[in-house]
C-alpha cells in the first residue's frame, strides 16, 4: 500500500544530497512498479500522482504510462482527472501508447458530465496527434455547438490544435467557428476569435469568408472599448484586454491587403489607439497590438501617424519592457515608413547602449535598418564610440555589424579605410578574417591612398596593444608600401607630414614579430613583410636578415620554413630579390566579392585545404606543439586571393607561394604551369632560381644524397606543381624522385647547426648507444653548457646498417614530466645505405630535478625502407650518471 503523496514529497524534500534523493526516489519507484504489477486499483490514482512528482524532478517514469490509460478508462471523475493529467504530463504526442486512448477519449467527449467532457477536450487539445485529430474531429465539431459555454470554449481551442495538425479540416470548421463570434461568453469569444485567426492563417478561403464578418468583430471590439467597468473581466481598469488583443490580431489578418475591410475597421482602431490608458501593462499590451495592426492594414495616413506617435512614446518610456516592444515594432515599421522612424534615431542609438542584452540586440538591429548613405557617418561614429565601452560579449556582434555597415554604405574609400582602422584599434580581436581581407583588397586597389594608409597605420600603430587584426594589416601594408612611409609619397591634402626613418619602419614590424600576444599567422605576416622591406629599405638589409634568421629555429613549422626560405633568398639570391619581391599585383575586387558571396562555401574550402594540408604532414611536428592548420589555411587564403580549386593542397600552397613572392597573374584555377608560362617575369625567374624543370642533377649541393626538409619546396615536378605540402620538421622527405636534390640543403643544414652551441662531446660523459636494431643504430653524444647544470644537449647520430637507404626518417622522443625536451630538426630525412653517423640531430633536455632523478627517455623511430614503413621503439636507461 505505501505512503501518502504528501509523505513522499516530504521525504524527498528532506534529502540533503542528490545521492540521497536518488536513493529515496529509486525506492519509491520500486514500490510503484510493484503496485503497478499487482494491478492495485484502490491506490492507482495516488501512485500516478506520485509518479508525476518524480517525473517533475527529472527521473524516468515511462513505466507508469499504461497506468494513466487504465485510469482514463476507469469510470469515476477523480480517477479520470488524475489519469488525464498523467497522460498529458508523462506522455507526449510521439508515443504510440497514445493511440490506445483514442477510444476512451471518444467516450468521454460524449459523456453527460461537463467536466469529464472538459477533461477529454483538454487532453485532446494539448497532446493530440494528427491521426487522433482526424478521428475525433466530428465529436469536437459537435461540441463547438454545445449549449454549455464551458464545453464550447474548450472545443474551440481543441479545434485550434486540430487545424494545426490537419490543415485540410479548415473548411469543415469554418462555419461552426463563425458562430462563436457572436457568443455572449467571453471565454468562448476569446477561444473563438483565436480559432478564426488560426483558420485565416492556414487557408485563403477561410480568410475571405471571415472578411465578410468584419463588422461583427468591430462591434465586439467597440463594445469592449466603450463599456464601463466590468468586474468579471477587468484588468487594471481595462475590460478584457485579452479579448481586445485577439480581436485586433484577427482584424490585422483581415485588413491586410483589403482596403474596404481596412476602412471598416479604421474607426475602431483609432478609438482603441486614443482611448486606451497607457499607464498599465495591460493597456500598453493593447496599444502595442493596435499599432501593429494599424501598420499592417491598408490604413489612412492619419492613423499611421497616430501609431508612430504611440511608438515614440513607448520608446521614451522608462520601463524596459515597453522600450523593448517599441524597438521590436519599429524594426517592422522601418520598411513602411523610414522617415517616421528616423525621427527617433537618437533615442534608438541610446538604446544600443542599454544595460539589457535583449534591448541592445533589438536596438542594434533597428539601427542597422536605419543606416543609409546620408547618415552612415554619424551613426558609425556613435556605434564606434559605444564599442569602446560595451561589454565583451556584445563586442563581437557590434563589430560585425559596424564592419557590415561601413562596407555597405561607405561614401568613399578613404572614409572606409579610416573607419576600418578605427574599428581595428577599438575591437581588434573581434574583427574577422573576412573583414581584414576585404580591407586589404580595397587598399590594394586604391593606388592614390596607399601612402596615406600606410602612414595612418604607422601613426595608429604607435599605440598598438596587441590587436591581432591591426597588427596584420599594418605589417602587410608596411611590407607592401613601406617606401611611402619614408618618402611621404602621394600625400593627401591636409595630411600631417610625417618623418619616418627606415629603421622606424622596421621597428614596427619587429615589435609585431617579437610580441608574445600575437598568433603565428601574424608572425608569418611580419616575416613576409620583412622580406619585402629588404628591397624597399636597403639600409636596413642586414638588420632584416638577422630578424628573419632569428626564426629559423621556430617551433612552428610554417615560421621556420619561411625564415629559412627567406634567409636563403636574402643571402644567396640577391640578384633575384628585386623581381621576387615586387609589389603584389592588384587584387581583383570583383573576383573577391564574388568569392565572398559564396560565403559558407568558401569557408568550407578553406577548412578542406587545412585538413588536407594536415594530412599531408604539412604542419606535423614530432613534439606536437602548436598545430594550427586553420590559421595556415587563412594565411594561404589571405595571401592567395585566387579561387583555386582545393583538389590538392600542394597545388594551393604552390599558389600561395607564387603570390607570396608577388609574381604571375592570378588567373585562378588554371594549372600553375600555364600561369607560370604566361607570366613573363617572376614565375620564370622562380623556375630559373630553382633550376628544376624535372629531375635535374644537383648543381650546388655538395652532399649529393642528403635531401633537406626544404627539398619539397624546391622540387618542381614536370607538371609545375610545387608541393609545399609534404614537409615535416624532422625530415619527412617529399615523394618526388629521390635524385632531385635541394640546392639549399647545405645552407640549411649548416644554418641549423649554427643556431645551437657547438656540441663537442664533453669529456665527462661517454657516448652511449641509445638504440640498436639489425638495421639501425642511434648513438648519443652529450654536452652540458657550463652555466646551466640542468640542461643537457644531446647530439644524436643515426647510422644505417642495412644495404637499403631509409627515407622519411623521423625520430621522436618522450620524457617524463619533470623534464623538458626540445628537438631540433634532423640534418636530413634520408639515411643512405651502409652509412655511419650520416645524419645528426640535436636534442635539448632540461632536467628540472637535476641531481635527484636520472635522465630517462623513450624513443620512437619511423622510416621507410625498401618501400615498407618501419616503426621501432625503445627506452634509453643507460644515460651516464650526473646528467
Amino acid at each position: 500500500m505505501g505512503s501518502r503523496l504528501r509523505d513522499m514529497i516530504r521525504s524527498i524534500r528532506a534529502c540533503k544530497t542528490a545521492a540521497e534523493e536518488r536513493s529515496v526516489v529509486a525506492k519509491e519507484c520500486a514500490l510503484l512498479r510493484n503496485a503497478f504489477k499487482d494491478n492495485d486499483q484502490d491506490y492507482r490514482h495516488r501512485n500516478v500522482a506520485k509518479l508525476m512528482f518524480i517525473h517533475m524532478l527529472g527521473y524516468p517514469t515511462h513505466f507508469g504510462q499504461m497506468e494513466c490509460i487504465k485510469l482514463i478508462a476507469a469510470g469515476s471523475f477523480p480517477e479520470k482527472r488524475i489519469g488525464y493529467l498523467g497522460l498529458m504530463l508523462l506522455l507526449d504526442e510521439r508515443q504510440e501508447v497514445l493511440m490506445l486512448v483514442t477510444n476512451s477519449l471518444k467516450n468521454d467527449l460524449g459523456h453527460t458530465n461537463q467536466f469529464i467532457v472538459g477533461l477529454g477536450l483538454c487532453a485532446l487539445g494539448n497532446i493530440c496527434t494528427a491521426e487522433m485529430a482526424r478521428d475525433l474531429a466530428p465529436e469536437v465539431e459537435k461540441l463547438l455547438q454545445s449549449n454549455n459555454s464551458y464545453i464550447r470554449k474548450k472545443a474551440a481551442l481543441c479545434s485550434v490544435r486540430i487545424v494545426r495538425k490537419v490543415p485540410d479540416l479548415v473548411e469543415y470548421l469554418t462555419v461552426p467557428a463563425t458562430g462563436l463570434l457572436t457568443d455572449k461568453h467571453h471565454g468562448v469569444l476569446v477561444a473563438g476569435v483565436k480559432l478564426c485567426t488560426e483558420l485565416c492563417q492556414s487557408n485563403e478561403l477561410a480568410l475571405e469568408h471571415f472578411r465578410k464578418h468584419v463588422s461583427t468583430m468591430v462591434r465586439v471590439l467597440k463594445n469592449l472599448v466603450v463599456s464601463g467597468y466590468a468586474p468579471e473581466y477587468d484588468v487594471s481598469g481595462i475590460t478584457d484586454p485579452f479579448l481586445q488583443i485577439r480581436l485586433l490580431r484577427l482584424l490585422r489578418l483581415l485588413g491586410n491587403g483589403d482596403a474596404d475591410v481596412s476602412d471598416a475597421m479604421s474607426d475602431v482602431l483609432a478609438q482603441v489607439a486614443t482611448n486606451t490608458e497607457s499607464n498599465k501593462n495591460a493597456g500598453n499590451a493593447i496599444l502595442y497590438e493596435c499599432v501593429q495592426t494599424i501598420m499592417a492594414v491598408e490604413a489612412i495616413g492619419g492613423l499611421r501617424v497616430l501609431a508612430i506617435n504611440i511608438l515614440g512614446r513607448f520608446l521614451a518610456n522608462r520601463d524596459n519592457n515597453i522600450r523593448y516592444v517599441a524597438l521590436n515594432t519599429l524594426v517592422k515599421v522601418v520598411s513602411v515608413d523610414t522617415q517616421a522612424v528616423q525621427r527617433h534615431r537618437t533615442t534608438i542609438v541610446e538604446c544600443v547602449k542599454d544595460s539589457d542584452i535583449s534591448i541592445r540586440r533589438r536596438a542594434l538591429e533597428l539601427v542597422c535598418a536605419l543606416v543609409n548613405e546620408n547618415n552612415v557617418k554619424v551613426l558609425t561614429k556613435e556605434l564606434v564610440e559605444y564599442l569602446k565601452v560595451s561589454d565583451p560579449d556584445f563586442k563581437g556582434d557590434l563589430t560585425a555589424r559596424i564592419a557590415g555597415l561601413v562596407q555597405k554604405f561607405a561614401p568613399n574609400k578613404q572614409w572606409y579605410i579610416d573607419q576600418m582602422i578605427l574599428l581595428m584599434v577599438e575591437a581588434g580581436k573581434y574583427v574577422t578574417n573576412e573583414v581584414i581581407r576585404s580591407l586589404v583588397v580595397v587598399i590594394s586597389n586604391a593606388n592614390d591612398l596607399q601612402g596615406y594608409v600606410v602612414r595612418t597605420l604607422y601613426r595608429v600603430f604607435q599605440a598598438w596593444d596587441g590587436q591581432e587584426s591591426l597588427g596584420q594589416v599594418t605589417v602587410w601594408c608596411i611590407g607592401e608600401y613601406g617606401e611611402f612611409l619614408i618618402n611621404s609619397a602621394n600625400e593627401l591634402e591636409g595630411e600631417d607630414p610625417l618623418t619616418v626613418a627606415e629603421s622606424d619602419a622596421v621597428d614596427v614590424v619587429e615589435s609585431v614579430l617579437k610580441d608574445s600576444r600575437v598568433t603565428p599567422t601574424t608572425v608569418a605576416f611580419a616575416l613576409t613583410a620583412l622580406l619585402k622591406l629588404s628591397t624597399r629599405l636597403p639600409t636596413c638589409a642586414d638588420r632584416i636578415k638577422n630578424l628573419i634568421l632569428e626564426h629559423k629555429g621556430s617551433l612552428v613549422l610554417e615560421l621556420q620554413q619561411r625564415a629559412i626560405e627567406f634567409g636563403s633568398i636574402l643571402t644567396k639570391h640577391s640578384e633575384l630579390k628585386a623581381t621576387l619581391l615586387e609589389r603584389m599585383p592588384v587584387l581583383d575586387e570583383a573576383t573577391y566579392s564574388a568569392k565572398n558571396e559564396m560565403g559558407v562555401d568558401g569557408q568550407q574550402t578553406a577548412a578542406a585545404v587545412a585538413s588536407e594540408s594536415d594530412a599531408n604532414g604539412h604542419l606535423k611536428q614530432p613534439n606536437g606543439i602548436g598545430k594550427q592548420p586553420a590559421a595556415t589555411a587563412n594565411l594561404m587564403d589571405l595571401l592567395s586571393f585566387t579561387d583555386e580549386q582545393p583538389s590538392t593542397s600542394s597545388n594551393s600552397s604552390g599558389n600561395a607561394l607564387l603570390d607570396l613572392l608577388g609574381n604571375g597573374p592570378l588567373d585562378g584555377s588554371n594549372s600553375l604551369t600555364s600561369s607560370a608560362k604566361h607570366s613573363a617575369g617572376g614565375a620564370d625567374m622562380l623556375l630559373d632560381l630553382l633550376s628544376l624543370d624535372g629531375p635535374a642533377p644537383p648543381t650546388s649541393a655538395p652532399t649529393s644524397t642528403a635531401a633537406a626538409p626544404l627539398a619539397g619546396l624546391l622540387d618542381v615536378d614536370p607538371l609545375g606543381n610545387i608541393p609545399l605540402g609534404n614537409l615535416s620538421l624532422s625530415g619527412g622527405t617529399p615523394k618526388g624522385p629521390p635524385a632531385v636534390v635541394d640546392p639549399f640543403a647545405n645552407l640549411t643544414s649548416t644554418a641549423m647547426l649554427a643556431s645551437v652551441p657547438s656540441p663537442d662531446p664533453a669529456p665527462g660523459f661517454p657516448t652511449i648507444v641509445a638504440m640498436q636494431t639489425s638495421g639501425l643504430k642511434i648513438s648519443f653524444d652529450f654536452t652540458k653548457p657550463a652555466d646551466s647544470p640542468k640542461t643537457t644537449i644531446i647530439k644524436a647520430f643515426y647510422s644505417n646498417l642495412s644495404s637499403n637507404p631509409y627515407t622519411d626518417f623521423v625520430f621522436q622522443a618522450a620524457v617524463p614530466k619533470f623534464m623538458q625536451l626540445q628537438l631540433e630538426p634532423a640534418t636530413s630525412g634520408i639515411l643512405p645505405a651502409n652509412s655511419t653517423n650520416s645524419v645528426t640531430q640535436l636534442i635539448r633536455l632540461t632536467n628540472n630535478m637535476h641531481g635527484q632523478k636520472a635522465l630517462v627517455m623513450k624513443l620512437r623511430v619511423s622510416y621507410k625502407a625498401n618501400g615498407n614503413n618501419v616503426l621501432e621503439q625503445g627506452q634509453v636507461n643507460n644515460f651516464p650518471a650526473g646528467l
Binding site: 504528501r6 514529497i9 500522482a49 508525476m52 517533475m56 527529472g58 524516468p60 469515476s76 471523475f77 477523480p78 482527472r81 493529467l85 498529458m88 507526449d92 504526442e93 510521439r94 467536466f115 472538459g118 477536450l121 483538454c122 487539445g125 494539448n126 464551458y150 470554449k153 474548450k154 481551442l157 481543441c158 485550434v160 490544435r161 494545426r164 467571453h186 471565454g187 476569446v190 477561444a191 483565436k194 468579471e232 473581466y233 484588468v235 478584457d240 484586454p241 485579452f242 479579448l243 488583443i245 490580431r249 501593462n281 499590451a285 502595442y288 497590438e289 524596459n320 519592457n321 515597453i322 522600450r323 523593448y324 516592444v325 521590436n328 544595460s355 539589457d356 535583449s358 534591448i359 540586440r361
Partner: protein, 161 residues
C-alpha cells in the same frame, strides 16, 4: 502560441512544467537547464523578455518563483506577461496567498488550474472568477466521490465483520 510553461524556483528547481509543443524528455531537461541559467542570472531591472532559439521567453518573478512562458516571436510579449499575471492571481485566490510550498505539495492542483487557463498553448478563460468556480465545482465532485467510496468501504467493512 505558448510552447511551454515553466515554473522555476530561485534555486533553479522545477516546480511545474507544461509542454504544448513536442519536446523529447532529453530536450526538456536541456531547455530547463539552459533557461534557468539564463533567467536566474538576469538582473531585476532588465526587461522580462529573452530571445532564445528563434523564440521568445517571457518571464516574471513572483517572490521566490519565476514564471516563464515561451512564445513565438510575433506574439505579444506584453500580453504574455498579462497571462502570467492572470494565472498567478488565480493561483493566489485558490490557495489564499499562494506560496512555493503550496505549489510543491499541491502540484497537481496547480496543473488542474493551468488546464483551465490554457489549452493548446492558447488562453482559454479571461475571467478569474469563472476559473475559480469550475475548479471549486470539480473539487466538490472529488469530495463527493471520496465520501461515497469511504462510506462504501465502511459498509463493506461492516458487512464482512
Amino acid at each position: 502560441m505558448i510552447h511551454f510553461v515553466l515554473l522555476i524556483s530561485r534555486q533553479g528547481k522545477v516546480r511545474l512544467t507544461k509542454w504544448y509543443s513536442p519536446y523529447t524528455q532529453k530536450e526538456r531537461t536541456k531547455v530547463i537547464r539552459e533557461l534557468s541559467g539564463m533567467i536566474l542570472s538576469r538582473g531585476p531591472k532588465l526587461c522580462n523578455f529573452l530571445e532564445w532559439r528563434g523564440l521568445k521567453v517571457v518571464y516574471k518573478r513572483y517572490a521566490s518563483l519565476y514564471f516563464c512562458m515561451c512564445v513565438d516571436t510575433d506574439d505579444n510579449e506584453l500580453e504574455t506577461l498579462e497571462i502570467i499575471h492572470h494565472f498567478v492571481e488565480i493561483l493566489d485566490r485558490y490557495f489564499g496567498n499562494v506560496c512555493e510550498l503550496d505549489l510543491i505539495f499541491n502540484f497537481h492542483k496547480a496543473y488542474y488550474i493551468l488546464d483551465e487557463v490554457l489549452i493548446a498553448g492558447e488562453l482559454q478563460e479571461t475571467s478569474k472568477k469563472s476559473v475559480a468556480r469550475v475548479i471549486a465545482a470539480q473539487d466538490t465532485l472529488i469530495e463527493h466521490a471520496k465520501e461515497q467510496s469511504s462510506s462504501l468501504s465502511n459498509i463493506i467493512a461492516q458487512a464482512t465483520k
